[in-house]
């Protein structure tokens, strides 16, 4: 069904392929799943916690953003490694699209964290940002990922070189992730749960909240998969259109 634009197209130049029916089923499942998560997030009664009150429900939305970002960059690193090994441009395309959607989730995680902190940690102070180690390290991590896109745009028009250099960079950027997001913030005085002197998720989360939280993490990682696959499809179309143009011209 997916006949390549040019018959003698090499393995390395072939656009990424998406199983369309599997994608459609997956997308519908993710939509239904996340709708159920939203209902559970608002309809289930949660224990009343001082200071947090209803904002405790942010656990269902803010935290999965970061889990999703981490999953997205693990996928991106997997495909970056795959490109370095095989030289297939389809793998580079997948790495790039996964990184792009992952960055979106990271940015949303950072901003939602700021809003949450403003009205709990910094209530009464008017502060939106106070260089809390957890937030600062997360912002640094996003800047490190941001450099990946800058690097790629600097190598525009040289797909082989761009894939190789940015792929190596991405592997290092992802290797740093657990340290910036987990190890360092826990060594410092942070208001974020899980930091020194603060109870972690396992200590403060009521069982009823776990019923929504874990499905929410799965659902948002599913949403990442949908958005990422959609972008891969669009990128594949662009590659095919470009190949067709050059075939007509050549």
């Amino acid at each position: 069904m997916n006949t390549p634009a040019v018959p003698e197209l090499s393995e390395k130049e072939r656009p990424p392929q998406v199983h369309r029916r599997r994608y459609r089923w997956g997308r519908n499942a993710v939509v239904a799943w996340l709708t159920a998560v939203l209902l559970g997030a608002f309809l289930l009664d949660i224990p009343r916690i001082n200071i947090l009150e209803h904002t405790a429900r942010n656990l269902y939305f803010h935290v999965p953003m970061w889990f999703t970002m981490m999953a997205a960059f693990v996928v991106a690193a997997y495909h970056a490694g795959g490109f370095l090994r095989s030289g297939r441009l389809a793998r580079d395309t997948r790495a790039f699209e996964a990184a792009r959607v992952g960055t979106l989730f990271g940015l949303v995680g950072l901003v939602t964290g700021m809003v949450w902190a403003r009205f709990t940690w910094y209530r009464g102070t008017g502060l939106w940002w106070n260089f809390d180690p957890k937030q600062t390290m997360a912002a640094v991590q996003l800047l490190i990922f941001g450099a990946y896109f800058v690097l790629r745009s600097a190598l525009e028009g040289q797909p082989e070189k761009r894939g190789r250099i940015s792929g190596v960079y991405l592997l290092f950027a992802v290797a740093v992730m657990p340290f910036l997001l987990y190890v360092l913030p826990r060594q410092m005085e942070s208001l974020h749960p899980g930091a020194e002197g603060n109870p972690a998720f396992s200590d403060i989360t009521a069982p009823i909240m776990r019923v929504v939280f874990y499905p929410s993490v799965i659902g948002f990682i599913g949403l990442f998969w949908v958005l990422y696959t959609q972008r891969v499809r669009a990128a594949a179309l662009e590659m095919r259109a470009r190949l067709r143009d050059s075939a007509f011209r050549g």
């Binding site: 997308r27 709708t35 949908v226």
Partner: protein, 94 residues
């Protein structure tokens, strides 16, 4: 045309003292009132209103979030349709 008559405003809750700038105090803000029923003025409405106004009007937020989510999903599906159409076109011509 329906004429909406302005209901008389609930008397300002001054129990919180003069320090507050608001004319009423959120019941949920007070630990002691956490499980209290909504004020009498809110119990008069129909069943829908009673449901939506309970739990500190949390269900209104749910309704808004669901509408936003449905909008995003509609966009997602329409983009998928567009991609499918383009894929079919390239499949046929190349």
């Amino acid at each position: 045309m329906t004429v909406h008559i302005l209901l008389p405003q609930q008397q300002a809750d001054t129990s919180a003292g003069a320090s507050t700038a608001y004319d009423s105090v959120w019941a949920g803000g007070d630990e002691a009132n956490a499980s209290a029923q909504p004020p009498a003025s809110q119990q008069k409405g129909n069943a829908l209103e009673q449901t939506m106004l309970s739990h500190d009007k949390l269900y209104v937020v749910l309704a808004v979030v669901l509408l936003v989510w449905l909008g995003v999903v509609a966009l997602l599906v329409r983009t998928d349709r567009r991609l499918s159409a383009l894929e079919h076109r390239l499949d046929d011509t190349s």
